[in-house]
Structure formats: C-alpha cells, structure tokens
C-alpha cells in the first residue's frame, strides 16, 4: 500500500515537472495532494489528511486555476540551464536519504517520538483537558501558542494578498453572469449541495473535540462553499453577501478573538492561554477556551481564503476589461 502510494506520488511529481501545460499541472497537483492525504491516512494522521485534502487538493487548485485565468495556460521554456538546480536537488536528496539511514522505522513503538512527550498527551489529555480527540488537545491547548502563531501566519498571508493585488480596485461585478458559462446542471446540483457544504463546515468546526476537524478545516470548507457559489452563479455574487471590505475586518477579529482569550487568562491571573482560568473547573475552562480559539481560527481562515479568491477573481475582471479596451 505504502509503496503503491509512494510510486504514484513520484510519478505525479515527475509528470508535473515535465509538462508545460499549466492547466494539466494544476490538476496533477490536485492529484498529488489527494495522494498525500491518502498517505497521511495510512499513517493514522486523520486530522492532517483532512487538512491536506481540504486545503491542498481543494482550495489551492481553485486558486491556481484562478491564477491561470490571469496568466495564460502554457509555461515558457526556461532560459537558464537546469544544471545548478539539479545539483542542488541531488545534494538535498542525498542528505535526506543519509538522514533516514539511522531513522527509527515507521510505527516503531520504541521510537523516541513515541516514548518521550507523546505518552502524556495520550494518557493524560483526557483527564487534563477533557476531550477525546487528543490531536485537538495538543493543537489547541498544549501547543496552543503555536496555533495562535499559525493563525497569524494566515492573517499575514491575507494582508499580503490585499497589499499586492488590492481589493478595492476590483472592477465591476456581474451578478448572475457566471465565470464558467451558464451551466444549468451545475446550478441545480450546487444549489442542492450548498446548504450541506455549509452545514458540514459548521459540523467540522464544532466537532473538532470529538473527531477529526477544527477551525482550520471548517474555515476552508465554509469558504469553498462561497467560492463554489461565486463560480457557478455569477461573478461577484458572493461579494453581495459578504463585501470584501468586511472580510479583512473579520480576519482581524478572528485572530483578536484567539489572542483575546489569552489576554483574558492573563487578566484572570493565569499564564497566557492557560484556559483553566476561564471556568470553575480546569476541564470546563479548557473546553471553553478551545471552543473559542477554534472559532477564532475558523473565522480568520474563512475570511483570508475568501479574500484571496476575491482578489484573484477581481483581478481577472480587470484584466478582461483592459484587454477588451485595447482591441
């Protein structure tokens, strides 16, 4: 199983490098992400697989396609010689292989990564935090500060897109005119699916304590629902529901909510992000804290992904407009 997945991964990667048709390459990247997600699944890393499928295969593919609309479908033949890059890649590859020579085998119960910090997460998180999904416990509480940092990374990415592409000057919107043409079947199907997509996102958001999921994945799925709507029902329709200007404020609110929970714990006299300060019993506090920060993450991820999509699709409209003006 592992060998089959890995060989498919490398075939996809090589094909993606060889092809000059960027549309095909984007599709291959999507496949690559799905394969990676499957690979994570065989490693029992369900949360990671979920994220990879939602972000890598789903949203990234849409964003790449939106970029292709702006740039054109075929890659130019590179001018510089591939010699130095190949050399660098070979050395890096050799170093990676060298590094794995002494590595513990996958799934070895005696490996240090299984015996040092992990046992406490596995054995005690249920008592200390009180939720069954220990991935969420590690992510949102034991290492909640890292997750705060990652949420700020996403916030920063949103700022970068706003700065470089701009959101204000996004051209006129065409409610009802679809980017991919008038697809009656798609419209009907999407209209039926959409409520379920959004509901599923909410389920993922709120159910992270018990199963795979949490704010990151939920934000992505929720945003994909909006993107789908915008793609099928008409350019800019989603903008009428959530104006782009709100989005950046929502992204800011999301990270502030997360950090605000930390500040609240400070004011309650505990350390930053020590959720046990939030309620009478420590586990109730942990529950509340994790719930709130996951919502913060969800809001920020949703807003940033939608911002990125709006920025790209708005850009496409400007490009089309100026192109027509020229001809």
């Amino acid at each position: 199983m592992d060998i089959a997945l890995l060989s498919m991964l490398s075939i996809t990667a090589i094909a993606a490098i060889r092809l000059r048709d960027l549309f095909a390459v984007t599709m291959l990247f999507g496949i690559y992400s799905f394969l990676t997600a499957a690979f994570f699944l065989t490693l029992d890393a369900i949360d990671v697989a979920f994220t990879e499928a939602a972000v890598g295969a789903g949203v990234t593919t849409v964003l790449m396609l939106a970029t292709l609309r702006l740039t054109g479908r075929y890659e130019q033949t590179p001018k510089h010689s591939p010699l130095i890059p190949i050399l660098v890649v070979c050395i890096t590859g050799a170093a990676l292989v060298y590094g794995t020579l002494d590595a513990p085998t996958v799934g070895d119960p005696e490996a240090p990564s299984q015996t040092h910090v992990a046992p406490r997460y596995i054995q005690q998180s249920a008592d200390e935090i009180g939720i069954p999904n220990m991935v969420t416990s590690v992510l949102a509480s034991y290492r909640g500060y890292d997750t705060l940092g990652e949420t700020f990374v996403i916030f920063c990415a949103g700022l970068a897109v706003i700065i470089i592409l701009g959101l204000q000057d996004s051209g006129e919107i065409h409610p009802g005119r679809s980017a991919i043409g008038d697809q009656l079947v798609l419209r009907v199907v999407i209209k039926m699916l959409l409520p379920f997509i959004l509901l599923f996102a909410l389920y993922v958001q709120l159910h992270g304590d018990y199963g795979a999921g949490g704010g990151f994945q939920a934000g992505v799925i929720f945003a994909s629902g909006f993107i789908l709507y915008d793609l099928v029902f008409g350019e800019g329709d989603a903008r009428l529901i959530i104006p782009p200007n709100w989005l950046r404020r929502m992204a800011a609110l999301g990270v502030l909510l997360y950090a605000g929970v930390g500040v609240t714990t400070l004011i309650m006299g505990k350390n930053f992000l020590d959720y046990s300060a939030l309620a009478e019993s420590p586990t109730a506090g942990q529950h509340l804290g994790i719930f709130l920060v996951e919502i913060g993450v969800g809001i920020t991820v949703f807003s940033v992904i939608l911002t990125i999509f709006f920025a790209f699709s708005g850009r496409a409209r400007i490009a089309v407009k100026t192109g027509r003006g020229g001809s």
């Binding site: 170093a95 990676l96 060298y98 590094g99 794995t100 020579l101 002494d102 590595a103 513990p104 490996a111 240090p112 990564s113 299984q114 015996t115 040092h116 910090v117 992990a118 406490r120 997460y121 509480s141 034991y142 290492r143 909640g144 500060y145 890292d146 940092g149 990652e150 700020f152 990374v153 916030f155 920063c156 990415a157 700022l159 970068a160 706003i162 700065i163 470089i164 701009g166 204000q168 950046r248 404020r249 992204a251 800011a252 609110l253 990270v255 502030l256 950090a259 930390g262 500040v263 400070l266 004011i267 309650m268 006299g269 505990k270 350390n271 930053f272 992000l273 020590d274 959720y275 046990s276």
Partner: protein, 494 residues
Amino acid sequence: MSLSLHLPVLVILLPLMASPLCILIDRARASWLITLIASLLSFYCSVLLLQQVQITGTISYELGGWQPPWGIEYRIDLLSAFMLILVTGLATLVLLFARYSVEQEISKLRIVPFYATLLLAIAGLTGICVSGDVFNVFVFLEISSIASYTLISMGRDRRALNAAFKYLVMGTIGATFILIGIGFLYMHTGTLNMQDLAGRLPALYDNRTIRAGFAFITVGIGLKLALFPLHLWLPNAYTYAPSVVSALLAATATKVAVYMLLRFLLNIFSLDFSLDAMPLDLILIALGSTAIISASLVAIFQVNLKRLLAYSSVAQLGYIALAIGLANHSGLTAAMLHIFNHALMKGALFLSLGAMVYKLGDAELHSSQGLIRHMPLTSVSILVGGLSLIGIPGTAGFISKWYMIQATLELGLWPLALIILAGSVLAVIYIWKIVESIFFQSPPSTVAVHEAPVSMIVPMAILAAANIYFGLNTHLTVDLADSASTLLVMGGGQ
C-alpha cells in the same frame, strides 16, 4: 495580576495584537500611531526584562500553563534580552522616522495594511528571540518572513516585486530546510524544547539522522542570514524595498538569523560538536572571509547607495560569520558586539538614505552631490555611519573590529586579522566615494531642497550619536556581550 510576571509574552503580544487592531480601526494616521506606541511599549518591556534577567538570571515562562517539554516555553537569558532590546529599540526609532516617509512612498490605500504587516514582522522577529521551543521558533520565523516578503514588495519600483519574489523563493527553501532539520531532531529525541534537546542530543552525536538535521538547520539559517554564497536575495531586496523597510530589515532581520544560528549551534548542539566535531568552524571562516573581500569589492562599484550598503551588509555578515567560526570566547563576544554595532550603523545609514529619498526622490550616487549644502544633518549622519562602518577609532564599529582582531590573534591566525583589515580598507574606498560626492562636489544648480522634517532627523541623529557613544563608552555593550558569550560557551547553561 502582576504584569511583571508576564513580561516575556507581553513583549510579543503588543506588536502582535496591535496588527489586527490597525485593520479594525482602518485609519492611516492612527495605524502609524498604534504601531509606534506598540513598539515603544514593547521596547520598555524589553528593558524591564533585561533588568530582571540581570537580577534573577534566566526567566522561564510556560505558555498555556503547561510545563515544558509538553507545553511551549519562553526562555529569556541575557542573549535573548539583548536581542529584544536591539529589535524593539531599532523598530521604535525606525517607526518614529516612518510617518512622512511612508506617506510619500506607499499609496494611501495601502498604508493601514502596511503598518499591520510591519507590526507582524516586528512580532515575528521578537518571538524568535525569546522562544525556548524550536518549533515555536519556526512559527515566528514564518510570521516574520511572510511579513518581510510583503513589505519588500511594496517598494515604488516595479522591480521590488521581483526582488520580493526571489527572496520568497530563497527564504522558503531556507525555512523548509530548518523544518526538515527540526523534524530529524524530533525523530530521535521526541522533543521540541531547546533545553530538553540540549540534554538529549549529546548521546546522539554520532547518529546520522542528527547529523543530517544539523546540516539542514545550518544551511537553512544560512539562507535567512544571507551567508555568502546564499546572499543573492539580499541586494535587490534591500535596494527596492521602501526606505523604512530597508532600514528595519537591514538593522534587525539578519541579526535575528545570526541569533538563531548561535542558539542552534551553541545551546541546542554544543560548541564542541558544532564547531569542532563538525567542520563548520572552517566553513564559517572560509565563507566569512570570502564574503568580506568579495562583497566589499562589489560594493565599491555600486552607484545606487542603497545597493552599495546592501553589499556592505553581506560583507559585515561575513565578519560575524568569521568571528563565530573562531569558536572561542572572544570570537563570540566580537560577533555579538558586531551584531549590535552593525545594527546601529546600518540603522543610521539606511535612515539617512530614507531622508534623502524623501527629499530627492532616489538614492543614486549622483543625486547625493553636494548634499551637505542643503541637508547638512543628514549628510553628517551618513558620515558618522560611514566612519563607524569602516571602524575608525571613536566609533562603535571600531570596538567590534578591535575585539575581532584580538580574537584572531589569540588563536595565532594573523592572516584572518589581515583579511579583517583589508575589509576595512575596502570600506574606506566605498565610503569615500559617498563622502566625496556629498561633501566635495557642487550640487546640481536645479536642486533646491531643505533638510528633512524633525521627526526624521531625530531618530537618525539618535542612531548616529549612538554610534559614537558606544564607540567611546564600551562598558554596557562589551559587558553584555561578554557575559552572553560566556553563557553560550558553557553550552546548555542558558
């Protein structure tokens, strides 16, 4: 609630949380003010932290209330406090300067997100300096890096986008290498906490996974630090970035990368392993020497002053690499002194160029002709920064070069002392080029400009004065650098 207990996290939180606040308030002038106040308060916290560390010794702060290695730890020793003061202090001065410069160079709609991103860059850089957890370091490195790419892309010249993209590609490779390295370390230790790693690694020094991890981390940080020959992203990035961004990044970003290198090499691994068992000392000395000579030579031929200073930065980072490669106590002291002093010089110089760009529109050598006539204060500040860069006695630059030469002679490596001197001679040439143009050439008759506004002059003058102050009064810096390097040499003793 006693705030002083939470200083370690407040230093980071102030700029971090001020960033979304700017977006919510969404007013250009207000966002500048918020940014300035946040970095000023953060600087104040850093000063308090340094005092605390000097009294009580290393401070540990458990984030989320989880004890390390299960939770993330902030660990502030003398070196961390020293870096905090450097980053937040320079950020405050640059922001004082920023108001008019940014209003001129950044389009109106982008000023708010500009300051929000700048705050994230500052928060990221400070976060790296206090963290006692390697993965947390990576997270804050990501924040500061993504913010820096964005800030560089905002330069007025279209080539800024290209420069930022190149930096993004190189920087991302660097970050990925660091992450791979951290993964390799985790594979055999099962921990991400620095202290815990330092305790568990010595038994594994012969392990090939650990050695590969060490190599990946070093190369990754080398990319971030613009260590020759991994510096190719730096000249364009510094040249085309907005003035304020060039000043901030030149003064702090690469220094924080040096800090990371020191932490990894000496605290997480140990001096004996990194610079003795591994051939890294020789590599650092060789690359450092090459950087000093080649980058200084290239600097001589530049006609854009920002680019000239960028190449000079590559050379100065070469000095620091060389000093670390010496692998002895005085070498490390010299490296740390140069981290601080070089931040002062480049801060003063890039701010002066920022004032020049504000008044004249560019930082080309020919535009600077006769600058002394209409912008005397800016000219003098460039002169002081330049002298310090050369290492004239009485300036901060002299102190660090003096300690560096002493460190080489201690080991009997006089050829290296010669290389350091040769670098200074080359610096004389490129600084003279600027000085001659500013002081001895007559200005083009068409130009009639006046000195920059006071809010730009003040931070510039403070930095120029600091170059002289720390050249004459060496107690503060030398003592700090000396005790910090003692901690580093002891390894794990943080």
